[in-house]
Amino acid sequence: MSTLTEAPPPLSPTAPEKKPPRRRGRFTPYWLLLPGILWLVVFFALPMIYQASTSVQTGSLEEGYKVTWHFATYWDALSEYWPQFLRSVFYAAAATVLCLLLGYPLAYLIAFRAGRWRNLIMILVIAPFFTSFLIRTLAWKTILADNGVVVQTLGSLHVLDVTSWLGWTAGDRVLATPLAVVCGLTYNFLPFMILPLYTSLERIDGRLHEAAGDLYARPWTTFRKVTFPLSMPGVVSGTLLTFIPAAGDYVNAELLGSTDTRMIGNVIQTQFLRILDYPTAAALSFILMAAILAMVTLYIRRSGTEDLV
């Protein structure tokens, strides 16, 4: 951060003092856009078009695939895999809510109460990124192991009886259950919730809290009427940054779940890499994308964040 505020290096004494003619500078913005646009075209737009065409192809590996505009693939994929779609949305939503419940108090603490510990806590929040996603998720396998402290403790406290009854866990196991997958998702995406929340909380003028207190609002009312509404941009971006990748995730379900907890990401992965049914995999990808886009649009409309400048 501090490097941004440093003074720019002095110009070399040989630099021409005269300004370049205006005409040359006119296209500068477009030149600056070029690398980004090229990148997007090659690595985003072209693969998307390729995927789209794949999704309407028919054929087999041996005979090759041809575009036959076979839209029925979409319908077949949806009617076969809708349970995994629903499960993905449900798991992702659960993980997002958990992230919000865990992340908000922490972000609030960092923004308003941490004082000189602020940077340390921020580093602790970001620290997991220094390890691979896969390793971190594998670590949870150990944490939630059947003979591990966590499961043993939860079992002896009869918490597992309740969660089993709810269908979140199975018997005295946590691993290979929905709870394990949601825990993994929550853990892995928590920083994506905390960082935007922190940013928007930290921007709130402390005098607004004082003003609310001065106008007879108790601390909790101040939070409900002032702090929380003003942190809405952070809540919205945090939930999106958590929900979207969580809905398409397959690592957590793969490592911490079972065949009963397969998410749509797992299905796509299997279709692509094991069954080699490319059209179905591509169609599923597009359905997922469309579904997320629709939900996100609805969500942003409803939360009305465009009012919060």
Binding site: D205, E210, G213, D214, M232, V309
Partner: protein
């Protein structure tokens, strides 16, 4: 809307102080603001005036002492339990609420359901009826300022605290808002405690001004009284401009003190001297620039007897419309300021001219010479 005078709007600070670590922001302070008065805390930044205000509001806990509103000890009450409202510096309006909801905020928090009529009346009072559904960032600085006042006043606080409320406005708007605030205060009759660094603002608006310096109250009184009878060099210099001349006490004659300054004699009413005047002791003689008359040295004979006189040379003259401000170098004191109304201008009074400065002894005041003669001047405050 005037409340009955049961003194419940009195603010009584006794022995309150505030220290942060080893830094003392406010030294133990006793202050009583009578109900219904417009009270100004005046001082340069860092003098402790805002801290004092925040202690009344409950936003800052005093290190020692008590804060009372009327007979109620509110020292340890949180802000939301105090019958006090604040107009914050830079307003602190809620950016996510419209003007109506900003103003209604305090009423709603106290569980009042039908706020429409009251809010509309209040918005009328501050002439913002049309803007009710706008967001704060859509309003100008002056309008936001009025919203801040309305938001606080609608709660009928016993005391309204104003923390540099006009600081962000340009000069013309500031003058206008000063009169506006004064009008509102007269209309609602609530005690106003106003913090400002602008001495002109304090003098225009307040009934009583407390001049603060270094966490202490230097002097407290009506604006005219403070201006005419400053008791410290800080007050003399901070409130308007003063010419301070070092002089030696010669004799006392009746109710006057006669002083020697650079060979000449100056007369000072003893009642207006805040320093002990012992023969041979030093005293600072003060005179406001607008009380001095200028006469060209050639006409010195026409000056009536009994007036204090000094001779000097005009170093600089600047015409500022209603008056001309002269800087005069005199043997007793460099750079004396003299303001002369532009009624009958003497064409000979140009830089380089020899002049006699003279004024009525009644306008002279005396200060303790042990003080820093430059305390409270602009250069000193800026440093």
């Amino acid at each position: 809307m005037k409340t009955t005078p049961d003194n419940s709007g009195d603010v009584r600070l006794s022995g309150i102080s505030k220290t942060y670590g080893s830094f003392t922001a406010v030294h133990p302070l006793d202050l009583t603001v009578p109900e219904g008065s417009f009270f100004a805390l005046l001082g340069a930044s860092g003098c402790g005036k805002t801290t004092t205000l925040r202690m009344i509001a409950g936003l800052e806990e005093p290190t020692t002492g008590t804060v009372r509103l009327g007979d109620q000890d509110v020292t340890h009450l949180p802000p939301y339990k105090r019958p006090v409202n604040t107009v914050f510096q830079s307003y602190a309006l809620f950016p996510h609420l419209d003007i109506f909801e900003n103003v209604a905020f305090g009423l709603r928090r106290r569980g009042i359901k039908s706020v429409k009529k009251q809010v509309e009346e209040m918005l009328e009072l501050v002439q913002l009826g049309e803007q009710a559904r706008k967001k704060p960032h859509q309003l100008s600085g002056g309008q936001q300022q009025r919203v801040a006042v309305a938001r606080a006043l609608i709660n009928h606080p016993k005391v309204l605290l104003l923390d540099e409320p006009l600081g962000a406005l340009d000069l013309k708007l500031r003058r206008q808002m000063q009169l506006e605030l004064k009008r509102i205060q007269t209309e609602v009759g609530i005690t106003f405690v106003h913090v400002t660094h602008d001495q002109e603002e304090a003098m225009t608006m307040a009934d009583t001004v407390a001049v603060m310096n270094g966490g202490r109250v230097e002097q407290l009184g009506a604006p005219a009284d403070l201006y005419e009878n400053p008791r410290t060099t800080f007050v003399a210099n901070f409130l308007g401009t003063s010419n301070l001349i070092e002089a030696e006490v010669d004799t006392k004659s009746g109710e006057d003190i006669v002083l020697k300054a650079g060979g000449g004699k100056l007369v000072l009413p003893e009642a207006r001297c805040s320093a002990p005047a012992t023969s041979g002791g030093k005293v600072l003689v003060g005179i406001r620039p607008e009380k001095i008359s200028l006469t060209h040295a050639d006409d010195a004979g026409s000056i009536p007897a009994g007036r204090n006189r000094l001779t000097g040379t005009i170093a600089d003259a600047s015409f500022i419309g209603v008056s001309t401000q002269y800087v005069i170098d005199s043997p007793v004191c460099d750079e004396l300021s003299v303001y002369v109304q532009n009624v009958e201008r003497d064409g000979r009074l140009v830089p380089g001219a020899d002049v006699v400065l003279h004024w009525s002894p009644a306008h002279t005041f005396g200060l303790d010479a042990a003080q820093d003669i430059d305390a409270g001047t602009e250069e000193e405050v800026a440093a």
